[in-house]
């Protein structure tokens, strides 16, 4: 069978499974819609969290990003996994004990203020919308590249699928669909990685293959350093970014991860506090399977790509180059007219440009793997994009129905609240789809926003809310607003107002916009603490609430007001 048939077959089959699960797990109450009834096992929740967390960007783009940045790419690997340690140790168990449905719920109750709740809702909505637009675009790209239909149709089909199971199933439907999606995506990522590792290093485990030797007996990484140095590039295993900036970006990504509402909400779905802790461990284990394989895929990919193209005759390039030239992900321009490809660091003489996404998408073809593997990668990329989109849509619909409508109309019936939640989810799908079809040029830039904002807004007030009994509503509101305004200001200034000066020389203390969330977080902590010192302590019932969430006993299922 050819690639297209395999792709239709595997992607179609995976869709049938997702829809089947959605019908089987239809949500009947707000509790099931928001937190899956609180009855998900830690192992299943770990898998669902992993699928929720690993987006189209993790699946398609991250390995390629590392291919071209080498050691500097470590910020993503450590940043997007290290946050789970913070989540497990500092947030998940206490928020589970608190036992409501959302992050703004916690902020509103702990800081006994609807103002604080509204600030938190705005942050949650902004972070989730930024994120979901990118996911829909990912869905569209996969459809158009693999199924050879226009990108708009790809987005519409993706919207229909997500609409179906997020709106119908709520958190319950999403959780069990995500378990299936995790299995699809991790299998699809590992199969080509294992094959390529075998071919290059003779070791079937990619994590070991990356530290292994190539055919001539030299270590792969040393060989790669040499190849890149010959072409004028920096060494793969040494850094180009400043150390201070590396530290700041890694910290911002870690803290941002721990502050993302669609990740935090997952820990409300397990039955007990000890399950929330364990579930974070499982989640990181499942995420780490992909995150420790990605650096291997990255190094194998760039090594293979250079070996099969550099100094080769243009007429004799391998077929994958021709296939992917059609999508403009790779292009050859024989500038010096010698009929050969020169891949060089100097943009004036370089004749080959490779898009980062190709390392994963074309991986199976570069390694001459069978056609079904290509179809599998397409199904995996779809699973990654759909699972994240669904998780985000749920946060959006919950924020609207519960944190906004219910806060100001406390008497609303459960049936009506559920209907508003479904309507909000439907609205969010259409909104996300619109940005998938007409992507604003700055999608890549705004991702820095999502992490920076989560780091600078939520993380400090949640941590202080649990570990300090003195922090009050004045401190929390002032802290969130300071962190938010500072971070938005810095990013907007360098990314949009004056992008020409977005260079290390102009950054404050050499901190890039990607890493500025760490500074915003620091400011938030300081302002929160100082303002609280000069204003009255929180009332007794809040002090009791804090004492109560610190001990696991008596958690029970997530409760409504």
């Amino acid at each position: 069978m050819d690639i297209l048939t395999w792709t239709y077959l595997l992607v179609g089959l995976s869709f049938v499974v997702y829809i089947g699960i959605a019908i089987w797990t239809r949500a009947g109450s707000t509790q099931e819609f928001y937190v899956a009834g609180g009855g998900v096992s830690p192992l299943a929740n770990g898998m669902a969290t992993a699928a929720d967390w690993m987006s189209a960007a993790s699946f398609i783009s991250m390995a390629g990003l590392i291919s071209f940045s080498g050691y500097d790419g470590s910020v993503y690997l450590m940043g997007w996994t290290g946050g789970y340690v913070l989540l497990a140790l500092l947030l998940a168990p206490y928020l589970r004990k608190f036992g409501k449905f959302t992050v703004p719920d916690f902020v509103g109750d702990r800081y006994y203020s609807n103002k604080a709740r509204v600030v938190a809702v705005i942050c949650a909505l902004f972070i989730s919308f930024t994120y979901v637009a990118g996911q829909m675009r990912g869905v569209g790209i996969v459809f158009s590249r693999y199924l050879e239909i226009p990108i708009e149709w790809g987005v519409v089909i993706g919207m229909c699928i997500v609409f179906f199971y997020a709106v119908l199933g709520g958190m319950k439907g999403i959780t069990y669909t995500q378990v299936a999606q995790f299995c699809v995506l991790i299998f699809a990522y590992m199969v080509p990685a294992i094959f390529i590792s075998m071919q290059l290093t003779g070791n079937p485990v990619p994590q070991l293959g990356l530290g292994g030797d190539v055919a001539d007996g030299t270590p792969l990484l040393a060989k790669l350093d040499g190849v890149l140095a010959d072409l004028g590039f920096a060494e793969y295993t040494s850094g180009r970014k400043g150390m201070g900036d590396m530290l700041m970006i890694t910290l911002a990504l870690m803290v941002g991860t721990a502050g993302l509402p669609h990740v935090i909400v997952r820990f409300f779905t397990v039955p007990r506090v000890k399950d929330a802790r364990l579930s974070a461990g499982y989640a990181l284990f499942f995420i780490a399977i992909l995150y420790t394989t990605a650096p291997a895929v990255a190094a194998f990919g760039i090594y293979n790509a250079i070996n099969s193209t550099s100094e080769k005759n243009i007429s004799e390039l391998p077929t994958w180059v021709q296939n992917w030239q059609k999508t403009n992900l790779i292009s050859v321009d024989d500038k010096n007219g010698d009929g050969k490809v020169q891949y060089l660091a100097d943009p004036a003489t370089n004749e080959l440009s490779i898009d980062k996404d190709i390392m994963v998408l074309a991986g199976p073809e570069i390694a001459n793997l069978p056609n079904w593997v290509v179809g599998l990668v397409a199904a995996g990329a779809m699973a990654a994009a759909l699972s994240t989109a669904a998780g985000l849509l749920l946060v959006i619909s919950t924020s609207v129905s519960r944190d906004l409508v219910k806060t100001f109309n406390p008497g609303i019936s459960e049936k009506k609240e559920l209907r508003i939640a479904r309507l909000a989810a439907a609205g969010a799908v259409v909104f996300a789809g619109y940005f998938g079809v007409n992507p604003p040029g700055f999608v890549a830039e705004v991702v820095a926003f999502a992490f920076g904002l989560a780091a600078a807004s939520f993380f400090p007030v949640i941590i202080l809310g649990i570990f300090s009994t003195r922090i009050n509503k004045e401190g929390a509101i002032a802290g969130m607003i300071t962190g938010l305004v500072f971070t938005i200001g810095y990013i907007v200034y360098f990314k949009f107002v004056d992008p020409t000066i977005n260079t290390p020389d102009h950054w404050w203390f050499g901190i890039s916009p990607e890493g500025v969330g760490s500074v915003g977080m620091g400011l938030n902590f300081v302002v929160c603490y100082v303002v609280s010192k000069f204003t009255p302590a929180p009332p007794q019932h809040v002090q009791d609430l804090i004492q109560n969430i610190r001990i696991p006993k008596g958690a029970g299922a997530a409760q409504d007001h």
């Binding site: 690997l77 168990p93 990181l284």
Partner: protein
């Protein structure tokens, strides 16, 4: 609640000490070995990996998983000891 406030503050202090120790390790394996000390560590090799590079792209992540599971075991034991565990 049968627990006295005093007993609970001992529980909370022990919890904070656990967090402090585990988060110190978290900091050292990632920010320490993976970024600040990466150059000196790269003088050593494990297989084909320079050691600092290994920490940044592999070792830190393995350590993170280990840290969470150590935390789970330690806290389950602490919860039982202070009789605040769930059924």
């Amino acid at each position: 609640m049968p627990e006295t406030p005093n007993k609970m503050s001992v529980y909370w202090k022990k919890n904070l000490r656990t967090l402090l120790i585990l988060l110190s390790v978290w900091f050292v394996v990632s920010f320490g070995f993976g970024i600040i000390l990466v150059e000196p560590l790269n003088q050593y090799h494990v297989g084909g990996y320079p050691l600092g590079f290994w920490f940044a792209q592999q070792g830190a992540i393995y350590s993170f998983i280990l840290l969470i599971f150590i935390y789970v075991i330690r806290m389950n034991r602490l919860d039982r000891e202070f009789d605040v565990h769930e059924d």
